[in-house]
């Protein structure tokens, strides 16, 4: 358990990561509050979702940490619930900071960059609000603030990391459910933790880190129990750049078809005449045009 270094300071070029352990989360939302306070993010308003204790709902332009309240089928014993109550799990969601980030690839302004710590960062002074990153994110994280006109998401506390500090959410977490540190180190921590949980009987504990997909892994992995889909984590996220090759190929095919088709159409139709012109002349000119078109 005491695997977290006392001071997870960052020396500038270490690749860092979050490990969010849902088996330790108590749903206190300290991470949400700390994130909003440190980053000066606007309030989401005071509304009830009406079907769960999760009244935040989802990540968005003003929600960079989001505690999920996963109420699932009764699982007596482990997890501490009596048999007749729904089992309750909490998990603090965050931008995944993908290795192959859809938002970063899609950004046409170069506003979204990879930081020296491996995170994905939106530079607010360059973002122009085209909202293409919004549809490019396979995790539905980044969102455009329509009042402001720019897109926002978790910065991985780039400012704090540059100062050698851990992100605000990790610092505020009272149960060390949110761990922060060097990525390879945290991976080991996660593997040890899952082994420990499994040895205690939580055989469904596992790490969520989609390394086998085109996303090629994330900088914010999670320990969850059971199927990741009940935590709204996609089993096979894909970075949208995988569709580019096919798309541009079809674009080229379409353009070629347009040129050839138009040449043929003009050639068949021949020179436009307002009065009656000899059929032979028209045929001759169309044949000439066809030859010309083929040469071109």
């Amino acid at each position: 358990m005491s695997t977290r270094p006392a001071d997870p300071s960052v020396d500038g070029h270490r690749t860092t990561a979050f490990l969010t352990d849902s088996t330790l989360c108590i749903g206190c939302k300290a991470c949400e509050v700390a994130c909003k306070e440190w980053n000066g993010v606007a309030a989401d308003g005071f509304t009830w979702s009406g079907f769960s204790y999760d009244n935040t709902g989802a990540l968005g332009h003003s929600t960079w940490r989001h505690v999920k309240f996963v109420e699932h089928a009764p699982a007596p014993g482990l997890g501490g619930n009596a048999g007749e109550l729904a089992s309750w799990a909490f998990s603090s969601d965050v931008c995944k900071h993908c290795e192959e980030a859809g938002c970063l690839e899609a950004c046409p302004t170069g506003s979204i960059v990879r930081t020296e710590f491996g995170g994905v960062y939106v530079q607010p002074d360059i973002c122009n609000g085209c909202a293409y990153c919004v549809v490019a994110c396979p995790f539905g994280v980044v969102q455009k603030n329509k009042d402001d006109g720019r897109a926002f998401k978790c910065t991985f506390c780039y400012d704090r990391q540059k100062a050698g500090m851990e992100p605000a959410c990790a610092k505020a977490c009272p149960t060390e459910s949110i761990k922060f540190g060097e990525k390879s180190h945290l991976r080991t921590v996660a593997q040890e933790r899952v082994r420990e949980l499994q040895s205690r009987g939580m055989e469904d504990a596992k790490i969520y880190d989609p390394v086998d997909t085109s996303v090629k892994g994330i900088h914010a992995f999670f320990i969850v129990r059971g199927d990741e889909r009940q935590y709204n984590l996609p089993p096979t996220p894909e970075v949208p750049t995988v569709y580019l090759k096919e798309g541009w190929k079809q674009s080229a095919v379409g353009s070629a078809a347009l040129v050839i088709g138009s040449l043929v159409a003009f050639a068949i139709a021949g020179r436009r005449t307002t009065s009656g012109r000899g059929a032979a002349t028209a045929a001759k000119s169309s044949a000439r045009a066809l030859r010309k078109g083929v040469r071109r």
Partner: protein, 370 residues
């Protein structure tokens, strides 16, 4: 109706056998079960639905909906018409077959580029930052490529039109001629990707219904753009051009095939937004107006000969309307697709969460029974 009911409630109800029997029924159920299941007693949504691999996270959708303004589908339409017109202009001019179409298409391309830029800028939350698009060149971002293509297309189609006007006012000259032909060539070169890159733009995203159709979208959007461009040219006084009618027949045939193809697809979950709901009907209407309708009108016009101008005008209007509806339909389908929580979680064939959300889950007691 509603007024009557309010008055009745204000005056109080008269108890009768039925109302009393109902109250006793509720009491019996409460005594027997410890809770009451009847409609109107249970607050909506209670007890809470459960999160599970089959129902996802309460049916809250993972993906974000597109956040483009209504200008963007219109931009797709204008860009398609303008881009294809640049190619038509060049072909009409170089084959030497139709100088009027070459001239008119120059106008469509140049004005289309201006309107496109206006629409794109008005979509941005901060219009002054359109230039930010031009600070990097990113081949892996269709949005970046689109910005550069638009910049090039606008420049050269504008130059081509400028040269045309210069030639009209000052007569032919070697400089103007070189400018005219080189800019026309470059305008067509940029116009070709400009007329169909929007298919790549929406296809290479995380939105399931878009990326699922990446194979057909660029050609579909390109064909729709060509049909629109041809139709605009026809309405500019070229209704008697057989060449334009033949191009229109080709485009409408492809659009008919595309509509048939979409209708016949056997993967109901991902393509649902293209068939059902508002987006389904808009897409379908777009498909009919850009496929079979102009195809039939154009074939009739072809048979009727060059005097069938009204048929051609009708076909052109139908094609333009179809192209606009097609763009709005596809973008709307993207919204519906993003809202479908099942798709990113790979939960196929389950009923939509809204139907399930209000259903009771009696197997999970919410109150611990002493």
């Amino acid at each position: 109706m509603s007024t009557d009911r309010i008055i009745q409630n204000e005056q109080g109800r008269v108890p009768d056998a039925a109302s009393e029997a109902r109250l006793i029924e509720i009491r019996r159920e409460a005594e027997k079960r410890g809770s009451v299941e009847a409609v109107g007693v249970r607050p909506p949504g209670a007890p809470f639905p459960i999160a599970s691999p089959e129902t996802g996270y309460y049916g809250i959708h993972l993906l974000k909906e597109p956040q483009w303004t209504p200008e963007i589908p219109l931009y797709f339409f204008v860009g398609g018409a303008a881009g294809s017109s640049a190619a038509t202009s060049a072909i009409a001019e170089w084959t030497g077959l139709d100088h009027k179409i070459a001239r008119d298409a120059r106008w469509v391309a140049a004005l289309g580029a201006v309107i496109s830029s206006g629409l794109l800028i008005s979509d941005l939350g901060r219009p002054s930052r359109f230039l930010n698009m031009l600070r990097v060149f990113k081949p892996q971002s269709p949005m970046s490529m689109g910005a550069w293509i638009l910049a090039g297309f606008g420049t050269f189609s504008g130059a081509s039109l400028f040269a045309q006007l210069m030639q009209d006012y000052f007569g032919p000259g070697i400089v103007v001629s070189v400018l005219k032909h080189s800019s026309q060539a470059l305008s067509a070169l940029f116009g070709l990707p400009f007329h169909n890159y929007t298919g790549v733009l929406i296809g290479a995203t995380a939105i399931p219904v878009w990326n699922h159709n990446i194979r057909s979208l660029p050609i579909h959007f390109g064909t729709s753009g060509l049909l629109a461009g041809t139709s605009v040219l026809e309405l500019m006084g070229n209704e008697d051009s057989t060449a334009l009618n033949l191009i229109g027949i080709g485009a409408a045939t492809l659009e008919t095939y595309e509509g048939y193809h979409l209708e016949m697809k056997r993967d109901p979950v991902i393509n649902e937004p293209l068939k059902h709901g508002v987006s389904g009907w808009v897409t379908r209407a777009g498909g009919v107006l850009s496929g079979p309708v102009p195809l039939a009108l154009r074939l009739a016009a072809l048979i009727a000969g060059r005097r069938a101008k009204n048929l051609r005008r009708l076909a052109a209007i139908s094609g333009i309307a179809g192209s606009i509806l097609t763009r709005y339909g596809w973008v709307h389908a993207g919204h519906a697709s993003a809202r479908d929580w099942r798709l990113p979680l790979k939960v196929a064939g389950k009923p939509h969460p809204l139907e399930e959300r209000m259903q009771s889950k009696p197997e999970i007691p919410q109150v611990k029974v002493a």
